[in-house]
């Protein structure tokens, strides 16, 4: 039994260590997540050892050869001491655990210097992302994707106009609830360039499962390039096809919900689409942003995200192609 137990733990540890991913606690690339992961491995090692010891003693007590006499007082007293010792040992371990998590907590909660501040508003079921800046014309809005420079602290400020959501980027930081009527924030620094995925962690209604988002961590100069483009208005259509697509967008229901800066489309219900073509995903991380997926999404949003608030808009075949091409051109 003991050997099985050890084997089981070994298998568990290997399978934990072996897995990596772009939405995983065990593959941390943000300072916050890295110190939590360190704490996790410490807890796991101690807890697994405790479990193995307890199981070993249980196994021994099940198989050990026994006297047939009635229990002796002397043995009883000795057993009492052993149990007292075990209780004392658990108290010590728990105090160490408490201190370890207190200091980790303190370090990850420290206020950052000169952070990049981004406002994240959680909606049923997508993320509205606003980059704040002292210069009002340098503020801009995007959705379901946060680009950040590596090495600089990020401060996310959360708001929710509807229900409780929870922002969770496991590779970068622990989660933070987004609560209507409350001010919450989260801070972390990304250590390595890359694309990280996260998703809403608090049950927020019927499409809770399809409320993903990405953090794209870039070298500072690349980030500045991206930011420069995002601050600007949308790219005007350059050929007949794209102009046709633009006309389809503004003359149909699309424009009443979506904004494309620099055009007549100014709706504020759904995500800002000014630079839609530069984004990774459609429908809050539900499918990759490809031409085929976009056409499918516009033609029948409920086929991709059954309860999305985006309505189906009946479009003729060439209108659908044109509007999709136009949106994809908005780099």
């Amino acid at each position: 039994m003991r050997r099985w137990a050890a084997l089981g733990v070994a298998v568990a540890v290997v399978s934990l260590a072996g897995c990596s991913g772009f939405q995983s606690v065990l593959n941390p690339e943000g300072d916050n997540a890295i110190s939590i992961a360190r704490l996790f491995w410490f807890f796991l090692t101690v807890c697994a050892s405790i479990w193995i010891v307890v199981m070993a003693i249980l196994a021994m007590s099940l198989v050990r050869a026994r006297r047939n006499t009635a229990p002796e007082t002397r043995d009883q007293r000795r057993m009492g001491f052993v149990i007292g010792g075990c209780v004392a040992a658990s108290v010590i371990i728990l105090v160490v655990f408490t201190l370890a998590s207190f200091f980790t907590n303190k370090s990850i909660a420290a206020a950052p210097e000169d952070p990049l501040t981004v406002k994240v508003e959680a909606h049923q079921w997508w993320w509205q992302v606003t980059y704040l800046d002292k210069r009002i014309d340098h503020r801009f809005e995007t959705a379901n994707e946060i680009h950040v420079p590596v090495g600089r602290p990020i401060l996310l400020q959360f708001e929710s106009p509807d229900v409780i959501h929870s922002f969770w980027m496991p590779n970068l930081a622990g989660k933070q609830d987004v609560i209507p009527g409350r001010f919450t924030e989260l801070t972390f620094t990304v250590e390595k360039p890359g694309i990280y995925r996260g998703q809403c962690a608090e049950f927020c209604g019927i499409e809770h499962a399809h409320m993903g988002m990405y953090v794209v961590a870039q070298e500072p100069f690349e980030f500045d390039k991206w930011r420069g483009r995002q601050i600007g208005d949308s790219v005007p259509p350059t050929n007949a096809m794209l102009r046709h697509g633009y006309m389809v967008f503004v003359s149909n229901a699309c424009a009443s919900c979506h904004t494309i800066r620099g055009t007549d489309a100014g709706g504020v219900v759904g995500p800002d689409l000014t630079h839609f073509g530069s984004r990774l995903s459609i429908a809050a991380g539900t499918v990759p942003n490809t031409m085929a997926n976009l056409q499918g999404w516009i033609a029948n949003p409920h086929g991709i995200k059954p309860y999305t608030q985006m309505p189906s808009v009946a479009l003729a075949g060439d209108d659908l192609t044109a509007v999709s091409q136009y949106l994809e051109s908005l780099k």
């Binding site: 998590s101 207190f102 969770w168 622990g174 609830d177 019927i206 809770h208 499962a209």
Partner: protein, 634 residues
Amino acid sequence: MSAAPEILRDTDLAERSLEERITHIWRTPSGIIGWLSSVDHKVIGLRYIVTAFTFMGLAGVAALIMRLQLAQPNMHVVNADRYDQLFTTHGSTMMFLFAVPVMEAFAVYFVPLMIGTRNVAFPRLNAFGYWVYLFGCIMLWASLFSNSGPDVGWFAYVPLSRGYGVGHRPDVWAQMITYTELAALAVAVEIVATVFKMRCPGMTLDRIPIFVWGGLVLAFMVLFAMPAVMVSSTMLILDRLVNTHFFDVSLGGDALLWQHLFWFFGHPEVYIIFLPGTAMISTMLPAFTRRPVFGYMAVVLSLAATAFFSFGLWVHHMFVTGLPRLGESFFTASSMAIAVPTGAQIFCWIATIWDGRPRFATPFLFICGFIFTFVIGGLTGVMVASVPLDTQVHDTYFVVAHFHYVLIGGAVFPLIGAVYYWFPKFTGRMLSETLGRWNFWFAFIGFQIAFFPMHILGLEGMPRRVYTYTPEMPWGGLNLISTIGAFIFATSFVLLLINVAKSLRSGVLAGDNPWNAETLEWATTSPPLPQNFTRIPVVSSRAPLWSGDDTFPVIAGMRADKREVLLTTLTEAEPDIRESSPGPSIWPLIAALTTGFTLLWSIYTPWAIVYGALPVAVSLIGWFWPKGTKEDES
């Protein structure tokens, strides 16, 4: 004490005719009305147990459907709408309609038997509680089958449940809470009064069986915890029905108020379920190790200490809501601290096994399975008590794995063991040991396969309460394994059902005390006579059946012509008062029906409370109408 000539006492009769006479007085009347009027704690306790297991089966099927849906990415077994109703109903049923009631049911059945009395303290309240509970069960599941099952989670967080629910689904949830909490509070009051005042002579505080201590602790926890959730669910339904603003953020209400109230109940709730499970372990263990449980005092104090601590750690469910850091650290410390008394109990059990001579019958297998599984759940519990770790694993499958290890490992395994242990007392027949072993191994292995992978899924970033996931997420493999495990685990319950069905008809006859156990319920026949004990026993030790004698001292002088119980003093259990005990009555059922319909109706209109008050009043007046009986003699 003046005995009028017509009074018949047990001293006036021969043994045989005394038993017949007292059995006749305490029996449940025949006929359908008689059946519905029963106030026998054993009849009601068994009804509770059977009902709770029935709804556990249904909620288990709900879980299997969810496991099929999650077995692979983008499955279409059920849609999101149905999935949300299923997980809400699964959680609500397992917590409110199965786990708490079934633990209370075992207490209702066994506390009077273990303390040597004839019924619980308020038998008609007991009957009333059961009917209200049944009403709540039927309402919740009828809603699910008519596509109006609650879909906002068993925790029903506002504002989602307040203003974003479909139709009346959240109201169904809120009123289901009201029904089951009414029932739970009724049982809690009975247990406290029964344990305090009705123990047989000689059963001083330090001779109370540990299971009875568990029942008492459970009852006190219910009394303190349940009002918080009744208040919050009532505030929720008021917000929805008559537009109060308790939780309306735009008008000064607060979204977190709900969470504080809910978890002030919700955390003790876990221990309300788990502590009776540990008490069952401590009660069964002596019979299978052939020695008393090691450290009676430590175990009893651990039960009380755990219950006390459990009220001080609700905030660890709210670590990611953005509360002040220092406050959070306090709750880390308190959540860690609760591991100490729990650990002490585990050490005592292992010491008992170490020093005893184990007998590997099915209940003992479940005890071992319990320790193996629960220690994992306890250790992951220590992990989630840490604020930083919790910010990662909160609301992920890691937590799903954690609490299933605690609740199935810590409460369901002992419970199934308890079914094998006490089935002979319920029915007079043993369950099959062969099937029992199969049952255990399917349950144990199936459980580990189903739930262990969930730890890893959570760390790989899978959140809870998602009805599906995209193929780019690397979760398909472990989810498939988990689903296979869930079906193996479910098979174990089918085996249990088969075993029960077969053994009811052809099981080996058990006799009074088939396990050679130490506590008083084994001193009476299997199944017990309606009066439990023809003569009230007197005990002089903690293990009255292991004292070496075949005969028992008993109390003489009880009336033999009416239902009478003996009240004793609180600490020393010295005979105090003989008191009459109420007989069968149909009024508890009628009162439960009128209350039930009023609450059901109130889902649709607040006026239901006004109109419904009338039939409720009538049924209560009928129930309490003076019968013209004399005051009891002391």
